[in-house]
């Protein structure tokens, strides 16, 4: 999902000397009893590290996620659509800030996390490296990308780490409008002219597979699932969530009168689930590595915004400093 990079191989972490077997057992007992872990509680160093990585990747994804849709704010077809899109993109910024705030409770600074994003060291979701070439893409993103995000984030509301769980509850409350406005755009296009309907189908064709990739690698190859499940950071596996998403979304496409771009997609009466074709994992790993259509553009845009905002941050700080000096006088 927004933290697919987590599933990549990394160096094995050395156990913190403070992580004695007794402490680890006591910690696991708290998790098993469904207790929440709060910032000042003792936690295994690997639990802290996993959360910092997962939460910061999630926050970065929210921030970079503003770019594909931001592309259409100035060209939204009506004032109503423009106001909606502005509000949605502003929400994404807010979601990034909630999660950065939560991550900071683990003893890292937002400035350091942002620096890692800007240098290209930190990962964010592969989905935001695809271009938004038509207005229908804005509809497809709301419907499919936010739909996938909700599927992933609802279980995170029950995550064992209190600040992450609370941030997710806020995010989920707000995200529902995001998905509905996207579906409404698709509905309007599908009820419109043939050309508009073709545009909707074209957007679906391009966004469907990348949205399935959002759930991360298949369980067979995912690196971090088991431990995250034991710690109740993760509640469902990548494949479980992906299946739920397909089951929920295919009927919505049917209602629109659109076809999923998957020849192998078929409803299995016995299991009650949709079977779907093989995901192009090669594409997924390439995008994650930085070779997607827009990876460079996204990072350049973030770096430019950061650089161009520097004088504002410094001026605000200088003003605060002057006021503090005055107050002290």
């Amino acid at each position: 999902m927004y933290t697919q990079g987590l599933d990549q191989k990394q160096k094995k972490s050395v156990a913190d000397p403070g992580d004695s077997p007794e402490r680890l057992a006591a910690f696991q007992a708290r998790i098993d009893a469904d207790e929440k872990i709060e910032p000042k509680d003792w936690m295994p160093s690997a639990y802290r590290k996993t959360l910092i990585r997962q939460m910061s990747q999630h926050a970065h994804s929210e921030i970079v996620g503003m770019l594909p849709e931001g592309n259409w704010i100035s060209r939204a077809p009506t004032l109503r659509r423009k106001a909606i899109l502005l509000a949605k993109v502003q929400d994404e910024a807010g979601h990034g800030l909630y999660i950065y705030g939560g991550t900071e409770t683990l003893g890292v600074s937002r400035d350091d996390l942002v620096a890692d994003l800007l240098s290209g060291k930190a990962k964010y979701s592969s989905i935001f490296n695809y271009p938004t070439v038509t207005w229908a893409d804005v509809g497809a993103i709301g419907w499919l990308v936010d739909g996938a995000a909700i599927m992933n984030q609802i279980p995170l509301c029950r995550c064992s780490y209190g600040p992450y769980s609370r941030a997710m509850i806020r995010v989920c409350k707000e995200e529902s409008f995001h998905q509905r406005q996207g579906y409404e755009i698709m509905l309007e296009l599908c009820r419109g002219t043939d050309e508009q309907k073709r545009m909707a189908q074209d957007a679906l064709n391009r966004w469907w597979w990348p949205s399935l990739m959002m759930f991360g690698p298949s369980d067979k190859t995912s690196e971090h699932s088991a431990q995250s499940m034991a710690w109740k950071i993760k509640r469902f596996s990548n494949d479980e969530l992906r299946q739920k998403y397909v089951d929920a979304t295919v009927p919505q496409a049917d209602y629109l009168g659109l076809r999923m771009p998957d020849e192998k997609l078929v409803f299995d009466e016995k299991t009650g689930h949709y079977e779907f074709g093989e995901i192009d994992w090669q594409e997924f790993f390439e995008v994650l590595k930085g070779n997607g259509k827009c990876n460079r553009e996204r990072l350049e845009a973030r770096n430019r915004a950061h650089d161009e905002g520097r004088w504002v941050r410094e001026a605000a700080r200088a003003y605060a400093e002057k006021q503090a000096a005055k107050d002290a006088a």
Partner: protein, 109 residues
Amino acid sequence: MPRNKLQKTQREEIMSKQGWPLYEVFIRARAGLSHRHVGSIHAADKTMALDHARDLYTRRNEGISIWVVKSADIIASDPIDSDALFGPAADKIYRHPTFYKIPDDVENI
């Protein structure tokens, strides 16, 4: 404390951070309720902290009043002391009304 020394401390506090200091945000959802902690925000000063808290935490009528407090100014208990602080309350069951046996015939008590 000499004035320039005080200034220097405040200056250091502000400048030592790479960015802006952290504030904790408390929102009163409606009259009659207490302010409740909702999260944190970075800001250069208190005015900006209020503005940012408003933009971030009240986009959907979540509140009618905001408090912001510098995170560094909050004095918090440590979970290590939890037993010493909160343990003693557990064996003082006589502080609860159910500890006392009053005959059913006695009313309004």
